[in-house]
Amino acid sequence: MDAASAASSSTKRVMENVEQPHVLAVDDNLIDRKLIEQLLINSSCKVTTAENGRRALEFLGLGDDQNNTLESRVSKVNLIITDYCMPGMTGYELLKRIKESSVMKEVPVVIVSSENVPTRINKCLEEGAQMFMLKPLKQSDVKKLRCFKKFLPSIVGDRPCFVLLLDGQRLVANMTM
């Protein structure tokens, strides 16, 4: 399938573990894709990367020329991390498309950006982004993601947990959910 060749999957650390989350990481920068992929693998995640919003949507089954078939009733992924600044479709626009989908809207979306712009951050959180993080990402940033209960596949319809603002500068959590 087109989207599968456009995105790439890594299962270098496949652990036979129900709680191994599948994360879709979207970024137009190859270096950042490699970095986020490795960070996630080191946190025991299965990772699929996509180089732009369009390919991300295709992978999720939300592409313009795809039908919402029975197969796509269940989300393939447990979490989506996307860069904000991307050519074509921005991370914000991708977020909106995901939130418009009945299948995908419950999947947490994390926006990352190299720029700390409060209006941008607020816009994303208001649109339903779970979190906004600053690049470059570190191991400690990715570890923070695991505390979201919604992130784990084994939990369905659970109450979202509260996240402490561990470092106001780098991590902003959506507390209003």
């Binding site: 270098k12 270096i31 950042d32 490795q38 470059p136 570190k138 191991q139």
Partner: protein, 146 residues
């Protein structure tokens, strides 16, 4: 002191030197932490991508600045990419120069942009040499350990 110990010491000293002089920052250490027995060449792979990417971007910037009518937004887009990549691998001096460069793009000052590009090309080539030396040491350490 045996060869291995000597090489390892050289590697530590060179890394410390690069950190101290500001060529690299904490983010480079993050990359090194991601390298393990499952991904033994992670740092070299990422840096290799960075080198290819950087050379392309620097060429794009040079060409954009040579145009009769300079599109500063285009130049800025390339610098923004370069800033992102350099930040991601911990190339601090290069990243800081990119920040300066972006200011000149915004001010649409051709002279300053050209000057900045030259500085950037220089810093990048110095960094490249430094990192290539570091990787050579790593290869020698690996060879000595076999």
């Amino acid at each position: 002191m045996d060869v291995m110990t000597q090489l390892q010491r050289q590697w530590r000293e060179h890394t410390a030197y690069l950190r101290k002089e500001g060529y690299l920052d904490d983010q480079f250490e993050q990359l090194q932490k991601l390298q393990d027995e499952n991904s033994p060449d992670f740092v070299a792979e990422v840096v290799s991508i960075f080198f290819d990417d950087s050379e392309k971007l620097l060429n794009n910037m040079a060409r954009a600045l040579e145009q009769k009518v300079v599109d500063f937004k285009q130049v800025d887009a390339h610098v923004h990419q370069f800033k992102g990549s350099s930040a991601s691998i911990g190339a601090m001096r290069v990243k800081n120069l990119c920040i300066e460069f972006r200011n000149h793009c915004e001010a649409q000052s051709l002279e300053e942009c050209v000057r900045c590009l030259r500085k950037l090309q220089y810093e990048y080539s110095v960094l490249k040499n430094q990192l290539e030396y570091l990787f050579r040491l790593e290869q020698q350490i690996r060879a000595a350990g076999v």
